[in-house]
């Protein structure tokens, strides 16, 4: 009996939980919530994931790293990018949010229900990851990557990166 024959989806999820986000390595692709589905069929493993933003330059690196993690389990990977609206930053786990905050990133606010609206300009919706103050302002809707904005904390006078809500 080969190793792969005992492979379960749970073991694949555990392996993927060790794959870091290439740009924010404090958080794994599982905590980031981008892995949507894992299906095991004998020695073949299909992993579906959705990038935070379609233009994410880390997409190919993520795909390669997830495929490598599956191969390390002795299985043949098929990593598929799913580009629909079924994923949102609401899928980032509670553990993931705390890891982001500890690393100095404001976790994304919940996606509003109903029509698309942007909370980026609201005051009071964003908390400084350093001092916890809500006295923060938007400095730039766009940041170093597509998924982040730049905000400034008036209380501790520290700029910080705020995850965009998608």
């Amino acid at each position: 009996m080969s190793l792969a024959s005992a492979l379960t989806a749970e073991r694949v999820w555990e392996a993927l939980a060790d794959v870091p986000d290439p740009e924010i390595p404090v958080i794994s692709v599982v905590d980031l919530g981008v892995v949507r589905d894992v299906q095991v069929d004998g020695e073949r493993v299909r992993v579906e994931f959705t990038p935070t933003f379609l233009g994410c330059p880390a997409l190919d690196v993520m795909r390669t790293q997830m495929a490598d993690a599956v191969r390390a389990l002795g299985a043949e990977p098929e990593v598929v990018v799913v580009t629909d609206d079924g994923w949102s930053t609401d899928r980032i786990s509670a553990v993931g949010r705390e890891k982001l905050r500890e690393a100095g990133y404001g976790p994304p606010t919940p996606r509003p229900t109903g029509p698309i609206q942007l909370v980026q300009l609201q005051t009071g919706a964003f908390r400084c990851p350093y001092c916890n103050s809500i006295d923060t302002r938007l400095d730039n809707l766009f940041g170093p990557t597509a998924c982040r904005s730049i905000r400034y904390c008036r209380n501790c006078r520290q700029p910080f990166e705020q995850f965009k809500t998608i």
Binding site: L54, G55, C56, W87, F142
Partner: protein, 220 residues
């Protein structure tokens, strides 16, 4: 690839070419925007638009049995379906660049909204995701339109919008033109249609495709 693709692939190529070429044009502001925040903003928007182009090209590539890269970079300049609006070289003219961003986002929101109702599930799902990302572009474009409209650049910006308006109409077709007129608060005029290319296009095509043409089949 034949010159005339099936209708739904033709639509995908129009969308993809618009996003790729506009992304390329927006990226021309990287490093020379009026201030640092706009360097970052235009670069980030360019990256997102090119990401949308990739997603559209991948859907089209599956239909045409080719790859996204081949569609994006291996066609002859006359084979691109982009609207002339995105081909215009507007770098060094901030008012026109902002006017194009605002007009493009206004038109793009209308067609993306209609794509969400597509009976092609992959395209409808993709449109819904793109709509969420584009909301950030639209907010940025609207903020700049308001800012220039209220500033000493008001007339210059108004002239830029007047000049680009017939090009903006060329982004959409049929009833979507009427919706665009309402959204932009402007009259319908003869549009600068897709199909013909502006004189700025060949130089951009040369630049965009240079690496692939220099090293055919190369991979990085």
């Amino acid at each position: 690839m034949s010159a005339q693709a099936p209708p739904r692939t033709e639509l995908l190529l129009q969308l993809a070419d618009d996003e790729l070429v506009l992304g390329w044009r927006d990226s021309e502001w990287t490093g020379i925007a009026p201030f640092l925040e706009e360097d970052v903003a235009f670069s980030s928007i360019a990256q997102t638009e090119i990401g949308h182009a990739r997603a559209f090209y991948e859907l089209a590539a599956a239909e045409l049995d080719t790859t996204a890269d081949e569609l994006a970079f291996d066609r002859r300049p006359e084979e691109y379906r982009c609207a002339p609006l995105v081909e215009l070289n507007l770098v060094h003219d901030w008012a026109k660049s902002v006017a194009r961003r605002w007009l493009y986002e206004t038109a793009d929101a209308i067609r993306v909204d209609s794509l969400k109702a597509s009976d092609w599930p992959e395209l409808a799902g993709l449109a819904a995701k793109i709509e969420r990302e584009e909301a950030y572009h639209a907010l940025h474009a609207g903020m700049w339109r308001d800012r220039l409209t209220r500033s000493t650049a008001r007339e210059r910006f108004a002239t830029a919008v007047d000049e680009l308006w017939p090009y903006a109409l060329g982004l959409v077709e049929g009833d979507q033109r009427r919706i665009l007129c309402e959204a932009a608060g402007r009259e319908d005029v003869p549009a600068v249609e897709r199909g013909a290319h502006v004189e700025d296009w060949p130089a951009l095509w040369e630049e965009m495709t240079m690496v692939r043409r220099t090293v055919p089949g190369g991979s990085w």
